[in-house]
Symmetry: C2
Subunit: 253 residues, 2 copies
């Protein structure tokens, strides 16, 4: 048998960028948990958002089998990368090996995680506050990226997560920054969607901002814009957004 290590490619910036796109750009994924009785694996579909450090966040009901599983054993696996049309094995996807962490309502991160999730998935507002529902962060331990047939990579958390000293203060100002952009700079938001994210149709609004970029939603569509460099200071956010809008406008001639 061929040595498995031979088929794993060396992780490069292209692989990291693809992994980040898949993690930040997936509205849903396949979650694998271990069932409490006997540890049989169990796969189910779940809506996904991202926390400020790009960690996937899910909203699940305690009445579901996957939640029983991850409450009993926090080891879960999350497959991300929406296949779309054509050969499903030609579409890139990533498997994250994670430790699930419940975000209780009393947790200081709860408000922030909730507003990010609800802006990406507005329909989830119907049940997000039901007593049996809870948010979980799925903290990545390792990842397997499959960029298409024969293009396999092993990645570490630092390859995919956003690490910045600005993350904490960006979290605090995110809600107001998102509101400000959508209400007072709708023209810039439309330009980000059309010129930078290449979305030809749809009415887009910003749903999340972090140190590495921001995301846009239009109904059930999702787009992500990555900044050229990760912001090290939250005071860089406003000028970075202004520069992006300016250069996008100029690119149109």
């Amino acid at each position: 048998m061929v040595d498995k290590k031979q088929i794993i490619r060396e992780t490069d910036d292209e692989a990291r960028a693809l992994a980040r796109r898949l993690i930040s750009g997936s509205r849903y994924g396949s979650l694998a948990v271990l069932l409490p009785k006997g540890g049989h694996p169990f796969a189910s579909r779940t809506a996904v958002a991202n926390d400020v450090d790009r960690t996937p966040v899910i909203l699940v009901s305690a009445l579901s089998e996957h939640t029983s599983g991850l409450m009993h054993d926090p080891r879960v696996s999350l497959l991300l990368g929406e296949p779309g049309k054509g050969d499903p094995l030609a579409h890139p996807r990533i498997t994250l090996q994670c430790q699930a962490e419940k975000i209780d309502r009393e947790d200081e991160r709860h408000t922030h995680v909730r507003s990010r999730f609800l802006r990406r998935h507005p329909k989830s507002a119907l049940y997000a506050d039901f007593p049996d529902f809870a948010f979980f962060r799925l903290n990545p331990v390792s990842a397997s990226l499959n960029g298409g047939f024969g293009k396999a990579y092993h990645l570490q958390p630092q390859d995919i997560l956003i690490e910045s000293p600005a993350s904490a203060s960006l979290s605090e100002l995110e809600d107001s920054a998102v509101e400000h952009m959508n209400n007072d700079h709708a023209d810039a938001v439309a330009i980000y969607a059309r010129i930078i994210a290449g979305q030809k149709t749809g009415k887009w609004s910003i749903s999340a901002i972090d140190a590495a970029g921001f995301e846009l939603v239009s109904g059930d569509r999702l787009a992500r814009v990555e900044f050229e460099t990760v912001l090290e200071d939250s005071s860089r956010l406003a000028p970075t957004l202004a520069e992006l809008a300016k250069s996008a406008r100029e690119s149109q001639g």
Copy 2:
């Protein structure tokens, strides 16, 4: 906490029909296995076909992590149901809890499973016969159907599998029946695709026939036609196919 049994609906014919459509109509799925070292769950995307009894069949490489997992512990979970556009949680899907069973090249079922898989996934002919690749039947033990928010059902193998005394003889004549239909009755095949399966575009051919119906492929698209009743005798196949074509033609007026 609410009793979980309250949210599981009683299995009816509509639920069974939806489950069968999802299992027979999915070109790919999310496979959850247990990793050999430590039993961490691992989710990955896999192409899927069906054996003559509707049991899912996968073709996997021994070099992949999912194959290491299912060789070590045959307990796997398979999530089927392609989400498409719109709200991913509104699309029906099914989770099958299975026991994986390797189909060795010496196995009398190998030729048949291989030809079914390759007709559905023609591109897999490029690697299906590589020494590290093997077919596995994923024998269902139980299933969880989610027909959309709040519509949950528990199903048993007999709710989803095809059981007929005709299955063995249909398996034997399937290759030649498929070839005959595609070559000598291309007009009927086009009518099945357009009128019965409702496919407005594409050049379709039959890729599988069993006691409960047949499947059609056109490039990366897949459609399934279920017979009104399961065939109990393989001699019923030809007249059933002829009647279907006749009534479809008449429905056009």
